[in-house]
């Protein structure tokens, strides 16, 4: 279906001109392409910069300088919670790129999220070193399994830079290979969703095995240091929080740059009429693969930021249910809007924290109701409401 919020849909392709020359305006044909939208409008820039300044100064001040008794002190719990939500927001943004703009509903993004988390988790496990229970060079769970050497894929993970490379490369390679084979055979729609879900499910089963070498059931936990800083220290936590925030802002701007570019416009075309786009001479494979891989990388980065803040990663993180929950963050916020999924991630997870603390029995009912009611009553999510309100105000 066509999203009402898609301002940039390919409807105005000219006659006969090869669509990818970029010389259309010079060659005399008037293509009538709408001008490329600005990265952000002026008020949006001002709001964003204000937010950056507020968070950049306010959070360190509130968490580190103010005494704990102060009403404005940011407790470790709140900071971890908000940091967690920001990681979810990055993941939601990534999913919005493929779902909102390319029409691919991935139910496998929890896998990419968890892979990023596992990549950084390997580094964190290695940096525990001799502080573990068994005081061995190997991570505790390997000692427990009676392993005497690191498996080959753990080589080099003692370096933070290498772990960061893995954070990007592992989801990228897996997404690319998987995407290549599925997109090439033009698997799409619900078929694709189901296959991504099966992929995540299979990976989860794999990671649950002790023999896979990622800690099995328990995963990685009990981290001590990250790059020589103690991981639970308020300073480290604040730094991680700010890095997450910075990544969120950059991811948002980067995603915005992609979707407003010509490439983004073709991707939107894939969403709205893949067959038509093919008749116009485009091969959707490359575009789909690009947006899919970028999305997976972004999701991996979100996972890598998530693990040091939350302090644990286990295979439950890649359960199919988690993937679908990501989709509902996007749906609640409004897909195809970029800002919506961020709002949606905060809204749904805020509600989750509230419900699981106060009415644990009813959380699943509530979540289920969101799943049922949002597509029925609020097809464009919260951002759809905002847009409606703004249009009403303009008219009056």
């Amino acid at each position: 279906m066509t999203s009402a919020t898609s301002s940039a849909s390919v409807t105005t392709s000219g006659s006969g001109t090869p669509p990818d020359t970029g010389r259309a305006t010079q060659s005399g044909f008037a293509l009538g392409l709408p001008p490329r939208p600005a990265l952000l409008t002026r008020p949006a820039w001002i709001a964003l910069i204000a937010l950056i300044i507020a968070i950049g100064l306010g959070v360190p001040l509130s968490a580190l300088v103010l005494p704990e008794t102060s009403a404005f002190h940011l407790s470790a719990y709140m900071m971890t919670l908000t940091g967690k939500f920001m990681c979810y927001a990055i993941a939601a943004l990534a999913l919005d790129l493929v779902w909102g703009y390319c029409g691919i509903l991935s139910l496998g993004h929890a896998l990419f999220f968890a892979l990023g988390g596992y990549a950084i988790g390997m580094y964190l496990m290695r940096s525990i070193g001799h502080q573990g229970v068994y005081q061995s060079d190997l991570p505790d769970f390997m000692v427990f399994l009676n392993w005497h050497a690191l498996p080959w894929y753990w080589e080099g993970t003692q370096h933070l830079w290498y772990a960061l490379v893995l954070v990007v490369m592992v989801p990228a390679v897996i997404a690319w290979v998987f995407g290549f084979f599925t997109f090439r055979s033009r698997v799409k729609g619900v078929y694709l969703s189901i296959i991504t879900q099966a992929m995540t499910f299979a990976a989860m089963l794999l990671f649950y095995r002790n023999e896979t070498g990622f800690g099995g059931n328990n995963g990685f936990t009990d981290f001590k240091t990250i790059g020589s800083f103690p991981i639970t220290h308020p300073g480290t936590r604040t730094a991680l929080f700010l890095i997450t925030f910075a990544v969120l802002v950059l991811a948002f701007l980067g995603a915005r740059a992609i979707v407003t570019s010509k490439l983004g416009r073709v991707v939107t075309g894939v969403r709205d009429g893949e067959t038509r786009l093919m008749f116009l001479g485009y091969s959707p494979l490359g575009y789909k693969l690009f947006i899919w891989t970028v999305s997976a990388i972004l999701c991996g980065i979100a996972g890598a930021l998530y693990v040091p803040q939350v302090g644990i990663i286990n295979p439950g993180e890649m359960s199919p249910g988690n993937s679908i929950e990501m989709a509902i963050w996007v749906a609640v916020g409004g897909r195809g809007t970029l800002i919506g999924p961020i709002i949606g991630a905060f809204a749904v997870n805020g509600a989750k924290s509230f419900f699981t603390a106060n009415f644990p029995e009813y959380w699943l009912f509530f979540l289920g109701l969101i799943f049922v009611l949002v597509p029925l009553l609020l097809p464009h999510g919260i951002m759809g409401l905002v847009e409606l309100a703004m249009r009403r105000r303009k008219r009056s």
Binding site: G103, V187, A198, E361, L364, F365, L367, F371, V372, P375
Partner: protein
């Protein structure tokens, strides 16, 4: 046996120290306390000797004590008396008098002694007058042959009259005669042992073809060795055959379950293009409906319990169909043409259904028992038993496929369903009420899933998460088979089941799942619409 009253010498029993007059049998050895005193000790060699004495004396107290030993009912006191626990009472093993069991400890046996005791018990029952007792004793000895029983077996073999038991005794004799000094006897023994076609016999035959360290054969006679080798080859062939047959059956059994789950899914997906994530929960509803019916039978008609499936089958169909129709009417109807949103919505419904089940029936698994006629199994090969409940489900799934086929091809509703599947608009144009067809077809698909749940309750756990464990596999079956065609689903379901079970022995269940997924992704490279794609315009939907 003749019994007489004997006066025993005065002896003290524990703290009581009283004179006793007891009934004791006349036998080769009268059992004395000294004979069995080692049982109280820690020395297993001494215990073994004591048990040998018990075995040698064919009298009632020693038999009773052996029985008690085999059932862990023998106790010893600190002062060395051996007692037998009999219900709440404890009796002295020799005198049979009830005594106090203060501080008595159970007699500890190791495995060797345990098998000696049970072998002796069986041996002593070999000459029982009762046919069934003899049969049980022979079977016990076949399980656990004991060379020391040879004289008893030989004796009984000579006088056994029942032909069935005689054959068994022959084998039993052969098993004890493998190392007889006469090569002809050995040959006969080996042939009898090999003819049993029992995989456990490998253990007896393998040593016969082994070589000693100096290169000569343990078994000196060529013919005996050849016979042993032939027997081993035959056993290996049986083992291979039964492994293949076992894998086939396991695959078909898994496939039949997947088929039941995937059938409804294929109907609803083919018809309205909706991936129903709550489909697994229809399985669960069917299973819980079976549970409720079972409980009602248990409470109100325990006599007819064996026939509860007759009611549970329609009940599970109806329960799932009603929920399915409600879901279609209330929610999905408004989402047609938006398949991805439908996917999310149905996932939400599945969360609600799971949580509701948890609150109604509890988060724990509930117990659904098989009716008596479904427990047990048919033994095809010695190492391959096909359980009746799995056979029943295999048959059941084929019947359900047959019914679904009949409904879809022979009824008016089926005609409409096929018409709407192929071309919704055209069907509407010629007067098919497509909305109503959607509802009925969705309810029908859900009902079939309910039947699947009813079947599943007979072979697996019934819990709120039941549907979750099958849903992905049944999606894969649909993807593999293609939608909208029964044949595709049947092949997809059984194919997936067979492939999974064929890979499992080599790589384990988890890697098998991953391999299957990779296979499916590779497969749809060749056939993007599944194995049985709809041809023509309807394919490009």
């Amino acid at each position: 046996m003749a019994f007489s009253i004997l006066r025993l010498t005065r002896r003290s029993i524990g703290k009581l120290g009283i004179a006793l007059i007891v009934i004791a049998p006349l036998a080769a050895f009268a059992l004395t306390p000294a004979d069995i005193a080692p049982l109280a000790g820690d020395d297993f060699d001494a215990k073994s000797a004591a048990i040998d004495k018990l075995i040698a004396s064919h009298d009632a107290p020693s038999q009773a004590l052996l029985k008690a030993l085999s059932e862990d009912n023998a106790l010893t006191t600190d002062s060395g008396e051996v007692l037998i626990q009999d219900g709440d009472a404890t009796k002295d093993a020799i005198t049979g008098k009830t005594v106090a069991a203060d501080g008595a400890q159970p007699v500890t046996l190791n495995n060797m002694l345990r098998s000696k005791v049970s072998g002796a018990l069986s041996g002593s029952q070999l000459d029982s007058i009762d046919l069934e007792t003899r049969r049980a004793a022979i079977n016990a000895l076949l399980q656990n042959p004991d060379p020391s029983m040879k004289p008893l077996i030989d004796a009984q073999r000579a006088k056994e009259t029942d032909p069935g038991l005689k054959k068994k005794l022959d084998t039993l004799w052969a098993m004890t005669a493998l190392h007889n000094s006469d090569p002809a006897t050995r040959l006969e023994a080996v042939q009898l042992v090999a003819a049993r076609h029992d995989l456990d016999m490998n253990e007896l035959l393998r040593p016969l073809i082994a070589k000693k360290p100096d290169g000569t054969f343990v078994e000196s006679d060529d013919r005996v060795r050849a016979a042993a080798q032939a027997g081993i080859d035959e056993l290996d062939a049986i083992q291979r055959r039964s492994a293949i047959a076992g894998t086939l059956f396991a695959g078909l059994s898994l496939g039949s379950v997947l088929l039941l789950a995937a059938l409804g899914l294929a109907i609803t997906y083919g018809l309205i293009g909706v991936i129903n994530m709550a489909h697994g929960e229809f399985l669960m509803i069917g299973a819980y409906a079976t549970y409720v019916v079972q409980n009602l039978f248990q409470r109100y008609a325990p006599g007819a319990f064996d026939w509860y499936p007759l009611l549970a089958v329609p009940a599970s169909f109806a329960a799932a169909a009603v929920v399915g129709m409600a879901l279609e009417r209330l929610v999905l109807k408004h989402l047609y043409g938006r398949p991805l949103e439908t996917l999310l919505t149905t996932f939400g419904v599945s969360l609600i259904l799971i949580q509701a089940t948890r609150m109604i029936f509890g988060a724990q698994n509930v117990q659904v028992s098989n009716p008596a006629w479904m427990s047990g199994g048919v033994t095809v090969l010695p190492s391959l038993i096909l359980p009746y409940n799995r056979l029943a489900i295999l048959a059941f799934s084929l019947i359900v496929v047959g019914i679904a086929w009949a409904v879809l091809t022979k009824t008016r509703l089926g005609l409409f369903v096929r018409a709407v599947t192929q071309n919704r608009r055209m069907a509407a144009c010629v007067g098919v009420k497509t909305a109503r067809v959607d509802s009925y077809a969705f309810a029908f698909g859900a009902g079939i899933a309910g039947l699947g749940g009813c079947a599943l309750s007979q072979i697996g756990n019934v819990g709120p998460d039941l549907g979750q464990s099958y849903i992905i596999d049944s999606f894969m079956a649909v993807v593999l088979g293609g939608v909208g065609q029964l044949a595709g689903t049947v092949i997809g379901g059984f194919g997936l089941g067979l492939i999974s079970k064929a890979i499992e022995p080599f790589w384990g269940a988890v890697l098998a799942k991953i391999a299957v997924l990779v296979l499916i992704v590779l497969f749809i490279q060749k056939r993007p619409q599944g194995m049985f794609a709809l041809k023509g315009r309807s394919a490009e939907a």
